[in-house]
């Protein structure tokens, strides 16, 4: 595949997901959550993973830390290389060393991802003690410093999560993730639970930390505005597949996939109040069914008969832009971004 030949310098890739397929098996049905995706994260890059509920975004990133619950999760195929090492081949000890140290995660809901009976200082220090082998006192001191970097006074290290507001709790979660200076940071909708002005503060903080610590980030979000704000690459997921991928500018300004177009057209146009919203018709497909053709065909205004029967291939239309649409190759075919 051209995609794999594209970057010669493997040094610049901190995370490489190859042909990943994950399904959840229950007594009732099998849910195909992630269907053969390829994803690469560049050093110091910020990749936005975009898609709607159930697209497989969270399953994808959980697999990076080997956190898919088994059962019901089954990894059918795929390789995940973190700094060149295959995650699935690591021993439990190596894995727990990697978690938090090499790869850290910020979860969506700061209200539930903190331990309510531990002070925030202890929670940050816990990961420092584990990974850096510092004494409790030294770790606590470092925890205070980390709190300061996310804009919370070190004096508050002795407080419990319920004593903080939502925005501050999310900062604490970020502080825990950053405590050991991970080189890959995975943020799963880090600002969804926050108000806009607080969201602005947290995004600003994340940008600054990226500069300071040289981290590479995967940012899961459904908000295209946030992607435009802090990402330099985008991957659009639909029904467990990546349908379009590329640099921010390519995907946003030179949109090629009808689903990406549909996402943009569903948003209220801030330049023209009177333009009508164009929703994507229908609903996301049933993830327990394997479709013979394109999974988006049912909802796609451009779908032809062939789209329903033939799987679209991933095409790199230039070195910064991939699209998986069966009609892309037709000479007269183009989509209509509003």
């Amino acid at each position: 595949m051209k995609h794999n030949e594209k970057i010669d310098n493997a040094e610049d890739i901190v995370l490489d997901i190859q042909d990943l397929a994950i399904r959840y098996v229950t007594d009732d049905a099998t849910t195909y959550a992630v269907n053969h995706i390829n994803l690469r994260l560049k050093r110091q890059g910020t990749l936005g993973l975009v898609g709607e509920t159930g697209a497989g975004k969270t399953t994808t990133v959980l697999s990076i830390l080997n956190l898919i619950p088994d059962p019901p999760g089954v990894i059918d195929s795929g390789k995940i290389l973190v700094n060149g090492r295959d995650v699935h081949k690591l021993s439990p000890k190596e894995l727990s060393e990697m978690r938090g140290k090499e790869v850290a995660m910020i979860f969506q809901d700061p209200m539930t991802s903190l331990n309510p009976v531990m002070t925030v200082g202890d929670q940050i220090a816990e990961s420092i003690m584990l990974h850096e082998g510092l004494s409790k006192q030294d770790a606590y001191k470092k925890a205070k410093e980390t709190l300061e970097t996310v804009g919370i006074s070190g004096e508050r290290a002795g407080d419990y999560p319920h004593q903080f507001s939502g925005g501050m709790k999310q900062r604490v979660v970020i502080a825990i993730a950053l405590a050991c200076h991970p080189n890959i940071l995975i943020a799963d909708e880090p600002t969804t639970a926050l108000d806009v002005t607080i969201q602005a503060q947290v995004l600003e903080l994340m940008k600054k930390l990226k500069e300071d610590y040289k981290t590479s980030t995967i940012m899961i979000t459904h908000d295209l505005g946030i992607v435009a704000e802090i990402c330099d690459e985008v991957a659009v997921m639909y029904a467990g597949q990546i349908v379009e991928q590329g640099t921010l500018r390519e995907v946003f300004k030179n949109t090629k996939h009808p689903y990406t177009e549909g996402l943009f057209n569903s948003l209220p146009n801030m330049n023209d109040r009177n333009s009508k919203l164009t929703p994507i018709r229908g609903l996301t497909p049933d993830p327990t069914i394997i479709y013979p053709g394109c999974t988006f065909a049912e909802r796609c205004p451009y779908a032809t008969e062939r789209c329903h029967t033939e799987k679209p291939q991933q095409k790199w239309i230039n070195e910064n832009h991939m699209v998986a649409c069966g009609r892309y190759d037709e000479p007269d075919f183009h989509i209509e971004r509003r």
């Binding site: 108000d195 002005t197 295209l224 996402l263």
Partner: protein, 317 residues
């Protein structure tokens, strides 16, 4: 100016808490014309939902007046109150928890018709349920399905059908699309807009999503800590916000348009406690322009240009 359908005068709703009096809504006044939409925006805890509910008397207002077609609904009792409920309805935020999971679509939509004795004949009721399902775009085959079988968008359509069942004139939409994905969100917004035109409805549209409110509302009211800080027609508010809080709020909207580069105004700190708030500008502590006046006395809502109201000692005109 068109016919005023709803006028809210100095509406207050306080809650007693162990720590003191929580000023959820503190002296809010506005009017809405028939057939128009007033958007209420603000951050969590600013009192926007409480305002909507106090208007419908789902929370009993502490003081103030709510004049609906000229009559003060806060004084209504018994039969009058029940009649008022037919005119004034609400659509709730969460279509997952606002519907009884053990009732079918048919039963859910039928309930308000039967409870209010709008129709008594079995066939008439069934006809009306089917008609409502068609109005909100629910396929007939879903007649006997349960909410858990449906996605969020369809569930929200049930909520809309229930509100419409009693032929209301006025609906409070409390974050009706916040729980939905963007593609579904657009479907529901379009539906609400169509219904407004078809049925001549008047809306209060409560949301924290500023781009949605810009698209949807005729007038926008911005709330902060229980108070109305600025109100203007949507285009005017977005083009010329004059309250420092409104400016910061608008600048914080992440914009997917790569060609629009905005200066972002970052606010210091976070919203303070609504319990026993001091008698001064409630935004002063986070405001980049605050002076002594702001720290010592509360500003009043004044009209700075036609239909543009602001409550600030130093509006940024």
């Amino acid at each position: 100016m068109g016919e005023v359908l709803l006028e809210v005068k100095d509406l207050k709703k306080y809650f007693e808490t162990p720590k003191g009096l929580l000023h959820a809504v503190d002296g809010v006044s506005f009017t809405i014309e028939k057939g128009k939409t007033l958007g209420i925006v603000g951050e969590s805890g600013c009192g926007k939902s409480t305002t909507g509910r106090a208007i419908l008397r789902l929370h009993e207002p502490t003081s103030g007046q709510v004049l609906f077609q000229g009559k003060d609904v806060t004084k209504f009792k018994g039969k009058e109150l029940r009649e008022m409920r037919k005119d004034m309805q609400i659509i709730f935020q969460d279509p997952y928890s606002s519907l009884d999971p053990r009732m079918t679509v048919n039963q859910l939509i039928r309930e308000p018709i039967v409870t209010n004795k709008l129709l008594t004949d079995k066939n008439d009721i069934e006809k009306r349920v089917l008609e409502l399902m068609e109005t909100v775009g629910l396929a007939e085959r879903l007649y006997n399905t349960y909410p858990h079988e449906l996605d969020g968008g369809r569930r929200q359509r049930i909520g809309i059908a229930r509100a419409l069942a009693v032929n209301p004139k006025f609906i409070v939409c409390d974050e009706p699309v916040s729980a939905l994905d963007v593609s579904i969100q657009a479907q529901v917004l379009n539906l609400l807009k169509e219904l407004q035109q078809k049925l001549d409805l008047t809306y209060i549209f409560i949301t924290h999503n500023l781009s949605v409110v810009y698209y949807f509302a005729d007038d926008i009211a911005v709330m902060y800590l229980g108070e109305l800080v600025e109100k203007a027609p949507a285009e005017e508010l977005f083009a010329h916000p004059v309250h420092p809080y409104t400016q910061a709020l608008l600048s914080a909207i992440p914009n997917p348009d790569l060609d629009v580069k905005k200066e972002r105004i970052l606010l210091k700190g976070e919203i303070s406690s609504p319990i026993n708030p001091p008698d001064r500008c409630r935004f002063a502590k986070r405001c980049n322009y605050a002076c002594e006046d702001c720290m010592s006395k509360a500003p009043k809502l004044v009209e700075i240009s036609p239909n543009h109201f602001v409550s600030c000692h130093h509006p940024l005109v």
